[in-house]
Amino acid sequence: MIRQKTPPIGGTTSSIMSTLMYVPTSYDLTNYPFENPIDGSNVYDYTGIDNPYWSVKHSPSTSSVDRYYGNLVLGFDPLPWLNIQNTVGFNAYTDRRMSVRGKGASSYPNGSITSDNIYRQELDNTLLLTVTRALNPDLSLRAIVGNNVNQRITDRKAFYGDNIIVADLVDMNNTSSVTPIQLINNRNVLKQRYYAFFTDITLDYKNFASLNLVGRNDVSSTLPANNRSYFYGGVNGSLVFTEAFHLSKDILNFGKVRAGYTRVGNEASPYQTESFYQTNPVLGGGGTPSNVGLPFTPAGGMTYNVVTQANLLTNANLKPEFITELELGTELQFFNNRIGIDFTYYNKRSTSQIFEVTAAPSSGFTTQILNLGEATNKGVEIGLNLSPIQTHNGFNWDISANFTRNRNMIKDLGGFQRFSYGGANGTSSVHIVGQPYGQIQGTAYARDEEGNVLIDPNTGKPLVSGSLKAIGNPNPDFILGITNNFKFRNFTLNVLFDWKQGGQMFSRTVAEMLSRGVTRDMENREVTIVSPGVLGDINTLTALRDERGNKIPNNVALSWEDHFFSGSMGPGNGGINEGSVFDATVFRLREISLGYEIPKSFLGKTPFGSAFISITGRNLWYNAPNFPKYTNFDPEVSSLGAGNSQGYDNLTVPTTKRYGVNLRCSF
């Protein structure tokens, strides 16, 4: 059960992170009134914007999540070497969401209530037949044959109530008109099923060699009948070579190599295979007055309900997605486990990935579902464990470090050169053939052939390149985490430090902070600034030359305000997106925890067998050195969640420090 209540957040105009940008830093909002004493409406210094304190009190968004789940496992051993087990699982949740714009808000004086009720349910049945047998004294076999049946349902209903009648009463009937909200393609109810037969066979030889074969055939409802059955599987092997070859254990006391080659198939989302119509959508252009809501009622005429073809071109030949992975690794332990290394190399290839991409409107559709191309992910993962100090008086020091480095690449987009998706605030994500996955796309500076930014000689502001460009790569170079663990008698101290190198981010928060001048980075605002670059021709977007044929460095000075505002070099509000892209390298003290194991003698008459108490602080310190210094910005935010679109901050709420006390008891 989770109950959550938040004020308006996100990139909308009434969100508290955006309204805070309008407050001078010298001005403390805390003790000023924010409600009109007569009617309780919003009071603020800026027209059309809500006081954050007012929003917190009158415009809450709530979410109530309840989970229900259960498992029934039945199993028995009909023969000493055979086990049969069946598991029925049920897992569901409801999420009841309400979002209020309070009556008397300056952003929307009438107020409104939006409700969104989501029900999700998953049913799963897994039947396993497990054979465990020693084939001869050295060779043992474990073979599983199984069947898996699964069904998932989502049922969602959303309504919009306009014009709140009595302030602060959160109830749909307290609005003067209620209309259903059409989700994208009116997909309120989703249902999908699959069934699968699978096998998993492991052969172990003398505890040092192991071979594993897996195979699985899925049949999914989300794919067209001729493609819905698909097989995948793989083979994995490992060898403890220190045992196999009886090596001396003086230095290397344990050594293992492993190799695997697997292919995994994946189904689609429901309802992407059959064309459909829509009832009473909005027809016409994007905004008033070119759009016409339906049903259509001409003046003095009858009401017309309509059905029209959907704008999504579905795909009757949709195929499953596949990921093929080669993985090689080794595990080594030195000096009686004092030093341990775990190294993995992988090479993943994703093919026929399912995407919804834009379509040429002349085809009759605006988006289409396609199986597209090929992408690769190659990388290494290195784990290092050290035990520098192990003493007899109870003091131990352990270090464990994890290094991951991934390189991804779009190899092929089925004939397309690029396609864009997702994103926020005028930018989007883009896949370009031959370049990394999911780059940030937006407006870019016009540049000459040497990469100098071209400056408009009339305004001193940079020229904009003709088309949208990839302006940042959100994929980090590497991630390193180091945990130090100190133990002395009953005390434990754990320190986790993180380093994420590289990866870029488009930050609207930083852009707004600089252009609104709310941080000390703007201290020099009394002087003028000359944006770096060379003067350019506004028509041809090439560098201007002086009489000797040399390029002319920019010589037009701007006030700081102009430099960070309205289409200038930025980073800034309304500026060229490229200016607001930063390197998101960040160092972080992720966690410190101090624990105490309560002595057994102390627990004597209590029912507890052991008890452990710890205090924890998370996210205690960070430094992102490549963001403007005084913005103190933490790039570990994402406006768009953990999906495919990464590297965006659209006025996100900052990360928080967290402290906790943890008591763990066992009986």
Binding site: Q192, S220, S221, E274, V292, T308, A316, P361
Partner: protein, 193 residues
């Protein structure tokens, strides 16, 4: 051993059931939220609304160009871009022409000649306007679903000639209807001959 036999039978039975019931079990990918078929009386008003609604950008643009009206937008300064008339282009193809095509196909199959005649006349009118506006446009390869997602541009003059043929066809189709209204009162305009 008895139990083992029973289990084998039970599993065998379950397997048999699953083989016969399986294809039905996963035959559930028809969208329960939206219609997969459209009735002519519901399609026709959609084409009429979207035809008119999508003309807004084109009409206001043309009026601005000839200075019947003045807006503060870029067009009033004769700044025209590739995207200036995007909404009309996208709307005509993805909202109007596809529904007209659906009416013509379905109406012809069902011999509902009143609907077919109206849809052909609407299409002729719209396509001629589009050629007036853009010159060469995709025409005969559009509305083919997955079969063609990049329809080729065709010569405007040839499209005009095809439009004239289509009007003749529409008149012939209209002649196949009985006296009285060509379609029941489901059409926003064109109710009577």
């Amino acid at each position: 051993m008895m139990t083992v036999k029973n289990i084998v039978y039970t599993l065998g039975l379950a397997g048999l059931l699953s083989v016969t019931g399986c294809s039905k079990f996963v035959d559930i990918n028809t969208d329960p939220n939206n219609p997969t078929e459209a009735e002519l009386p519901l399609l026709l008003p959609a084409t009429e609304v979207s035809l008119v609604a999508n003309m807004y950008q084109m009409n206001s643009g043309a009026s601005t160009f000839v200075q019947h009206v003045v807006f503060s937008g870029a067009l009033s300064r004769y700044q025209q871009q590739g995207t200036t008339f995007d909404d009309s282009w996208t709307g005509f193809y993805s909202q109007t022409l596809n529904d007209l095509e659906a009416i013509i196909t379905k109406g012809t199959a069902e011999q509902q000649w009143g609907y077919v005649a109206i849809a052909k006349l609407e299409k002729a009118y719209l396509v001629s306007l589009m050629v007036d506006m853009w010159g060469d446009i995709p025409y005969s390869q559009t509305q083919q679903g997955q079969a063609n997602t990049s329809p080729a541009f065709e010569d405007g003059q040839e499209i005009y000639e095809k439009v004239l043929t289509m009007i003749d066809e529409a008149i012939a189709d209209a002649g196949k209807t009985n006296a009285g209204p060509m379609v029941p009162a489901t059409s926003v305009s064109y109710i009577r001959r």
